[in-house]
Amino acid sequence: MPPSAETNGPKGVTGWAAEPRRMDTLRTDAAGGSETGLSFHGHGGTLFGIHVINLLLSVLTLGVYYFWGKVRVQRFLHSQMEFDGDRFAYHGTGVELLIGFLKTLGLVVLGVIGLALLQLSGARPETVAAATLLIYPVLLVVVPVAIAGSRRYRLSRASWRGIRFSFRGQTAAFVRLFVSGALLSVVTFGVYYPFFYNNMWRFLMNNTYYGTARFEYDGTGADLFGRFLLAMVLTPLTLGIYWFWFAAHRQRYMWAHTSFAASRFRCTVTGGRLFRLNLGNGLLLVITLGLALPWVQARNIRFLCGTLAVEGLPVMDAIRQEAQAASPTGEAIADFLGLDFPGLAPGW
């Protein structure tokens, strides 16, 4: 395989010959209408430097600085993302992340103490084992709580042109959707999965706001079903490689059915590009023993921004500020579980 297009260096996307589109040009006025693209200006090297400084301060403060470090990374990533000539901004703080972490830690410790007390109180081993097994149903509920909570927190701390994003979906509703969808997917041996994915995307998108304006999704699981069945057959036959093509198709579909302020999204990701990106990332990480992680992070975000655009220009005149409060606890739980949902969109 020749060096992938994504390894072209900071400018990155110039090598994607299929649809030549300059990253710096935000609006391409063509005969058939215009398109407003996202772009990412950050360099992996700067991100690496941020991580090095975070490491020093984390070591010196015995780990406490970790939360402030996370904020620094997020602030940098947001500040390097641009849409229609203006950058995004991040407003989270280290203190609130620390508080969220302490609350989560408190919950975990309570659980552990509860189990230990049960054990010490002379309960029968079967009772203790049953209580330990409870972790699985608990996780099934905690994961959606973390997804919704993390999204609520992150969007509430993100802004563009001074207007905050927000997520207003009810956590309980998302838990119901997630638990039933996950169980149905298991029971049907995965056949239900496209409907489950579609329902999640709809819930997460339809409850996402920029100021007073809501994002809207009008796709259906049935549209994805055929491709998904094909993927179920071809993915094992191709040793998993076909999944990139399915994932690309899914992303294109999801975004094509997502709109905002009277303009529709357009995603140009292809299976080949997605495959090359991941292959390149994997090689980079292996060769550098993981040191290239900041560059991989930058490559991923640059890739996503480079493949996503809005058709036309959203009508912004009527949009007003409508910031929503959001607790950092959901974010902390997601961090605890090792879940990460970067960016402004689900499935990024």
């Binding site: 360099h43 690496f48 020093l56 005149d317």
Partner: protein
């Protein structure tokens, strides 16, 4: 009232209520910023109401915010803007100036990297061991025993344990004689034999001694066995295992925090169960040797047993079929053996025979042979 050094800059103003970008021309003055729109309206931003939200890093735009959330925002792309504030308002605008200039970024990162390595080494070599020392000393003995019990379950699973009343009695007698010679300790020593051909022995916190069948077969006299046991008993008395555990857990917790993996914290605590993979430090091994030899001498056991066994093991070296296990955890150096010889040479009492009646050649008989 124009400041002498004033210059104008172009930027974008956001009012925090609408999504409109308003281009402004900014004049940097001694007490604040003056924002002028195309229509000719003005905004006065006194420095004391402003804070720098972003702009310290290479490639970042300068973002200055004013007021409480949702705040008004001013964005300037030219990084020289901050230098202009520094010159025009060295005191009034000081809080808007980042700690270091962007062109020093690479140097700052390099310094931070070196600092992180030095701080990490200091913590690893000094702070954590000192902390583990204190923590292990504070740990109640009952907790230590429970910890040892858990370690025993994983190191010597019940199915592999080998009960042989005759042999157990002989080994217990050696342990009892060594324990009686010691300074009197709160630990009750228990010995477990594991059905495994490796030449290996170890100690779990709280008084648990584990000996592999291979080790029993490798010893030729009770005095040799006593040497191995005295060494392991000193690990228990010095709480080396508990300290190693504290070191390991705190190191992992710190590492997971440093690399930003909060979930790793849980794994660090889980590591508490994997006591078998813990390593004693070299100074712990030396202490166990030295005090083990003192114990041998106090119990009036022939010190040449311990020395002879170690020497034979080191001569066979890695070539010995099952000796690797013990040698990998107890690296034998010529210096270690010489130190033991020096101690043995100072012995004052004549040794009293250990288990003279016991047919030692049968000590390593297989488990199935137990009556």
């Amino acid at each position: 009232m124009w400041a002498r050094r004033s210059t104008t800059w172009s930027g974008s103003y956001f009012d925090g209520r609408t999504a409109n970008r308003i281009p402004v021309t900014i004049t940097v003055m001694a007490t604040g910023l003056r924002l002028a729109t195309v229509e000719g309206t003005f905004l006065w931003w006194p420095y004391e109401q402003l804070h720098l939200a972003q702009g310290a890093l290479p490639g970042e735009q300068i973002r200055i915010e004013r007021g409480l959330e949702p705040s008004e925002t001013l964005v300037v792309s030219d990084e020289a803007f901050l230098s202009a504030i520094r010159e025009a308002a060295p005191t009034a605008g000081r809080h808007l100036i980042p700690m270091f200039r962007r062109r020093h970024w690479a140097g700052v990162v390099l310094l931070a990297g070196a600092g992180a390595v030095i701080a990490g080494l200091a913590i690893y070599l000094w702070a954590i061991p000192a902390l583990a020392e204190v923590a292990a000393a504070q740990m109640p003995r009952a907790w230590e025993e429970r910890l040892g019990q858990a370690a025993l379950e994983s190191l010597a699973p019940t199915t592999l344990r080998c009960a042989d009343p005759q042999r157990d009695a002989a080994l217990s007698e050696i342990v009892a004689r060594l324990a009686a010679a010691g300074p009197g300790s709160a630990y009750t020593f228990r010995i477990t034999v594991v059905d495994h051909p490796a030449v290996n022995a170890f100690a779990a916190p709280g008084g648990h001694l584990v000996v592999y069948l291979g080790m029993l077969r490798a010893t030729q006299t009770p005095a040799e066995m006593a040497g191995v046991l005295a060494h392991e008993m000193q690990h228990i008395l010095h709480r080396h295992g508990t300290k190693a555990l504290f070191r390991e857990v705190s190191m992992r917790a710190l590492l997971s925090l440093a690399v930003g993996d909060a979930g790793g914290l849980g794994q660090a605590l889980e590591a508490a169960g994997t006591l078998g993979q813990l390593r004693y430090r070299r100074q712990d091994e030396e202490a166990a040797d030295r005090d083990g030899m003192s114990l041998i001498q106090a119990a009036r056991i022939d010190p040449n047993g311990m020395i002879g066994f170690l020497r034979r093991l080191s001569q066979e070296g890695p070539g010995a079929p099952h000796g690797l296990a013990y040698l990998s955890t107890h690296p034998l150096t010529a210096e270690r053996i010489r130190q033991l010889e020096r101690m043995a040479a100072r012995a004052s009492h004549a040794p009293v025979a250990l288990l003279p009646e016991y047919p030692w050649r049968e000590i390593g008989r297989s488990c199935a042979a137990a009556p």
